[in-house]
Amino acid sequence: MSNNVIVTKDLSKTYGKGSLQVTALQKTSISIERGEYIAIIGPSGSGKSTFMNLLGCLDTPSTGKLYIDDIDVSTLNENQLAKIRREKIGFIFQKYNLIPTLNAIENTTLSMSFNNIRSDERVERAKNLLDMVGLSHRVDHKPSEMSGGEQQRVAIARALANNPSIILADEPTGNVDTKSGNNIMKILEYINNKGETIITVTHDPNIAKRAQRILRIQDGIVSEGNV
């Protein structure tokens, strides 16, 4: 395995056909090394979400190549992409996106169950992860019984469940108060220090500043930048 977790070659995304065609992401060639902490910034409608969806294997590119852990994912089918998502990528969403009917430990084990990990092993690992994000007292609470910050920490535990190569965090502090936001950032930095690659999308310059590398997107063009 090379040291690059993500490599894009002329990666682009175009929506629509003919005269209605809109290019959301211009041809982009970047590489991201293992263990990097990257912030993606840019105004609304700049192509940020398109870029994130492509990196997260939620969407397929119109042209170009995307390699994750040296695997060319641009040609994979739906189920193969699902396998990449659960094995290589951990998502953290702005709105936490926990399953409302499941408690903290069940939410954390869910993606492991899609990965066919044994039940006792799953619970063991989920408990450790919830412990790491400081929620060992909340394991059997449902999302509706937890604060926003707590829910987001469950989401972080869930994202780490299958030992992914990349954590994609989309405005992870966007919906929580400053104190909780700070707590979440500290957790993300902690796991980054342990070697995890983190890519976060943010509006907040203070959060972007804490990243090692900043990618700025404007009008579908990705460029190296600073705050």
């Binding site: 979400s49 994130m52 739906e78 998502r85 969403f93 409302p100 899609f114 039940s119 869930r158 299958n162």
Partner: protein
């Protein structure tokens, strides 16, 4: 894996409890209909078979070319003046395989009671024949005649309670053609229901009949054969022999009771199918109910499905969750449906019995619903299949949803 999907499905159902219960109710009603209607159908079959199968070695022979099986059973109240002769009977007795022949005599008579006269049709039967033709349950009072009884009779409900100003009871002495006769038994009111009409009947022993009327007009003969498997062939031979005696191709009819049984079973079989078809309609409606609920649920959970797919669920995982959900609702509904159906069939049997004839006819039809293991297995199977089929489409829609839904910016 299955356990986790089961857990998810179960929690979804619990989350939307009232809606799940309503959906479940639809299935319950459908299954209840199937179980109770099958129970009634099966009950009818068992009752009729039980009543008639003991007669599988019996052939009824009548003069006057009875036009169908049921009329034959309606013992000869309307007398067309054609009778079997002693020669016919002895010819029947000579046919290979015939075990015994008992005869039923028919003729007019006058009953006098409290100085009132009523003209009736008298029936003379051997005591054994009475027991073949009727069951003890048909009597509202008294007993059948025994071998050796003299000057005793059994009368129908109308004669006992309606034809005379004063009631006739068991033990009453009436006069038939001038002879004193004791009433030994009275039939229950039969009305329009059952197979044999007993309301206006007067049954005497054959010996008393001949003594009172001086005639021996044989309207009906009951033939028993030694081997029930030959019954159809022997019936054919009997008919030929008698027709030859009278020089008339259509003089007599000999009908094996087993062929009547077959006819009735065929009719009941069709009836059962119709009942089940009606129940099937209820199930179709219920399955549309499940599909509708599940589709709504898929729409509501667009985001949830997206999240699951984003964190790595494959299409089959998502589909399985929804199919299990449909199956669970349907199975639980089916379970309650079976319980409701068992009680429902009892109630339905009660209603049918009361509606039937309001009397012995329906009761001796014995509408006790029979719930077979087969119908329960069928009900479980059907609810399982309904659950799977009606959730297939919603599950497929769910599986096709895009994971991008989950990460869409708002």
């Amino acid at each position: 894996m299955f356990k986790d999907n089961f857990n998810l499905a179960y929690k979804n159902i619990r989350e939307r409890m009232s809606r799940s219960i309503l959906t479940l109710l639809g299935i319950s009603i459908g299954i209840m209909a199937i179980i109770s209607l099958m129970g009634i159908g099966e009950g009818m079959q068992v009752a009729v078979t039980g009543e008639l199968s003991s007669l599988s070695d019996t052939i009824l022979v009548s003069a006057g070319g009875s036009s169908n099986d049921f009329e034959l059973l309606q013992e000869g109240v309307d007398d067309n003046g054609e009778y079997l002769t002693e020669r016919d009977i002895s010819d029947i007795e000579r046919i290979q395989g015939v075990k015994e022949v008992s005869t039923q005599l028919t003729g007019a008579g006058v009953i006098t009671y409290n100085r009132e006269n009523v003209i009736v049709t008298l029936t003379g039967m051997d005591t054994d024949t009475i027991k073949i033709a009727y069951s003890e349950e048909d009597l509202e009072a008294g007993t059948f005649l025994e071998e050796g009884d003299q000057n005793k009779c059994i009368i129908g409900y109308s004669i006992a309670h309606e034809d005379f100003d004063s009631e006739i009871a068991v033990g009453s002495r009436i006069s038939i053609n001038g002879e004193k006769i004791v009433v030994n038994g009275i039939f229950k009111k039969q009305g329009m229901g059952g197979l044999t009409s007993t309301d206006s009947i007067v049954i005497l022993t054959s010996r008393d009949f001949e003594k009172l009327t001086g005639e021996s007009n044989i309207k009906l003969a009951a033939v028993r054969v030694s081997d029930p498997t030959n019954v159809e062939v022997i019936a054919e031979e009997i008919e030929q022999a008698i027709n030859e005696n009278h020089g008339d191709d259509d003089f007599a009819s000999a009908t094996a009771m087993s062929s009547i049984l077959e006819t009735i079973q065929n009719i009941l079989g069709i009836l059962s199918l119709v009942l089940i078809a009606i129940a099937a309609i209820a199930l179709v409606v219920a399955s549309i109910g499940i599909m509708n609920t599940m589709l709504t649920s898929v729409m509501e959970r667009t985001r949830e499905i997206g999240i699951m797919k984003a964190i790595g669920a494959e299409n089959k995982d998502v589909m399985l969750i929804f199919i299990i959900e449909g199956m669970l609702v349907s199975l639980v509904g089916g379970f309650f449906g079976i319980i409701l159906g068992v009680f429902g069939s009892q109630g339905l049997a009660g209603i049918l019995t009361n509606m039937g004839a309001g009397g012995p006819g329906a009761e001796s039809m014995g509408l006790t619903p029979v719930i077979t293991l087969f119908s329960i297995v069928l009900a479980v199977g059907v609810s399982l299949i309904v659950g799977i089929l009606s959730s297939l489409y919603p599950a497929w829609k769910a599986a096709r949803m895009s994971p991008i839904e989950a990460v869409r910016y708002e």
